[in-house]
Amino acid sequence: MLQSESITFAYDKENQFLFPDIKLEKEEDLLILGESGVGKTTLIQILAGLLKPQSGTLKYNGLSYHDLPSKELDQFRGKHIGMVFQRPHFVRNISILDNLLLSLYLSNNEQDKELAIHLLEQIGLADKLNCKPDELSQGEQQRAAIAMAVVKNPDIILADEPTSSLDDTNCDKIITLLKEQASSTNAQLIIITHDSRLKSQFKKSIIL
């Protein structure tokens, strides 16, 4: 269960954010909608444990993870949170399969090669296992980035504008894929976007 209360963050005097409270039960997904400049990226970085809120509480299953020491917070993030970015990013010098294995390694999971291959096959990248990220098309990279986030079986998948640069067809595909992967790993999906096309796809949504 993810719960936040009156989280605030300020970069400087002009850029101060007070975020609405979030209460997310187990197996619930969430859509956070907001226009540019309302602190979407800030919020997702706070949720991911990358940015410490200046006030307010944020707990996952009762654990206020921002108060963990740096190394444990890294491990918490590695174990529980999978992140998908607007533009897909990888470690460029190693293959897609190795990127997945690296993700498993960094999150202290067993480097199950079968599992990683199976996942890549599922999302239609069976023939790209040993390709370097740069050798994939945009769409393929998008899917591979999702695979990299979900391979470690996280509890929360945080997606930052995963669809904003996609056309309707691809937007649907990606959201379907994210939902599939989330449900197959029993993860909660939190999407932050300004893309209102997604509104109909989620039962629960908040607006920043």
């Binding site: 890294d74 460029r92 390694y105 480097q111």
Partner: protein, 430 residues
């Protein structure tokens, strides 16, 4: 996949930068290592060939030249001296033994040295085949001489006047090979040994009664030479000395090697020779340290240049790490998002820098050996630098900590940047 493998992949994915850094480090370390090895080798070789010779007596001239010519056989002799005069010192109570050397002729660049069997004995070289010379014009070959010219027992050849090829050929007298020495990795390998008589005979028909000498064994069965013939095929050391007894008073030699009984000899004898006779005495140990200190300046200069190359290689490592990190900042942030700790990333960056510097050092040490191996191979026939060692010498062990330090220093700034990476900012700017 882990940090170590990722580090390797990063290095391999940037072949040009990696190669440049590696090459520079390899080159710098290689030059220093080669110098150390050469220095070590030369010193060892110089010392090994001394074989306890305390003093060399020869004609006036450069003492260094006297040492180089009569111990190492790599320079021209200073001139001739009277054997009778030089031999006076043999009877001095401070002298253990003396060995006369007469040379000036060669065979295809290898020196023909007239001496006593004590000379190869001093170098602890034994015969591989055949026997010692027992009379004039019989020669024993050093192992390299035999190898290079494919000479066997029973072969004959003519000596050439002078120490380089192309001089006047003494075609009146043919030398006969009667023995070949074991390889000893000393100057002995490069020499053609015979008795002093042979050298005198070839050069001066009047000095020694030619006919008498020949008759010694082959025809004349009288008194002391008798045994000489019968036991022709054993090592007749004693008997060949008996032939030396007939050395005439006016015989000339090139140098006399002297071994003292006690260190007191060093204080008295060289001065005595230089002040009271027309001869020159040189102390090899002194001349060699003078020589190495002369060489030392050049060695230091090249060493300095090599250290600069190592520092430049550190700079190259720094630049390539810095540039690749600038390109990979997002990757590092991404890894943190996936759960990597700060220290894991520090390890990744440090490892890349250290791998380059350490690999460079290892390659450098290997390359220096390879170079030395080929140099030895090429020079072997000219100079006695044959003993070759592959193991690390003490001074070289320093190269590894130095290389690691350079790697560490080069990685320092990129490492600090990595440690302090601002993940939210890096992710937002991507």
């Amino acid at each position: 996949m882990n940090i170590r493998r990722l580090g390797w992949r990063n290095l391999l994915s940037n072949p040009l930068n990696t190669t440049l850094s590696l090459l520079l480090m390899t080159f710098g370390v290689g030059v220093i290592s080669l110098l150390l090895l050469l220095n070590n080798q030369i010193e060892q070789q110089l010392k090994a060939n001394l074989k306890g010779i305390d003093m060399v007596v020869g004609a006036k001239g450069s003492p260094l030249q006297l040492i180089l010519s009569s111990i190492y056989h790599i320079d021209n002799p200073t001139g001739n001296i009277s054997y009778a005069e030089a031999n006076k010192f043999s009877k001095n109570s401070l002298v253990d033994f003396t060995i006369p050397l007469s040379f000036g002729d060669s065979y295809n660049g290898f020196r023909i040295v007239g001496t006593t069997p004590q000379y190869p004995e001093l170098y602890e070289v034994s015969l591989k085949e055949g026997r010692m010379w027992s009379r004039s014009l019989e020669v024993v070959l050093g192992s390299t001489v035999a190898d290079v010219h494919q000479l066997k027992i029973g072969d004959t050849f003519y000596g050439t006047h002078g120490l380089v090829e192309g001089g006047h050929v003494h075609d009146d007298y043919a030398y006969e090979v009667v023995g070949i020495l074991e390889p000893s990795y000393s100057t002995m390998d490069q020499l053609i040994l015979t008795n002093s008589h042979s050298v005198w005979k070839v050069h001066n028909h009047e000095t020694i009664d030619d006919d008498h000498d020949h008759a010694n064994c082959d025809h004349d069965h009288d008194h002391h030479d008798h045994a000489n013939c019968d036991h022709d095929h054993s090592e007749e050391v004693e008997l060949s000395i008996s032939e030396d007894l007939s050395i005439p008073d006016d015989a000339m030699i090139t140098a006399l090697l002297v071994k003292f009984k006690s260190p007191v000899g060093f204080i008295q004898l060289p001065r005595k020779v230089n002040e009271t006779t027309s001869l020159q005495a040189a102390v090899p140990a002194l001349e060699i340290s003078r020589l190495t200190s002369l060489l030392g300046f050049g060695v230091k200069t090249i060493n300095g240049i090599a250290y600069i190359i190592i520092i430049v290689s550190g700079l190259s490592i720094f630049i390539s790490l810095y540039n690749s990190l600038k390109k990979r900042r997002y990757e590092l942030a991404l890894m943190r998002v996936h759960g990597a700790s700060k220290w894991q990333l520090v390890k990744l960056v440090l490892q890349e820098g250290m791998t380059l510097s350490l690999l460079g050092a290892i390659f450098g040490v290997l390359i220096s050996r390879l170079t030395l191996f080929f140099m030895t191979f090429l020079m072997e026939q000219k100079y006695a630098v044959s003993s070759f060692q592959f193991n690390l010498i003490n001074e070289e062990l320093w190269l590894f900590p130095i290389a690691l330090f350079i790697g560490l220093a080069a990685s320092l700034i990129p490492t600090i940047q990595t440690y302090n990476i601002n993940i939210p900012k890096t992710l937002s700017n991507a």
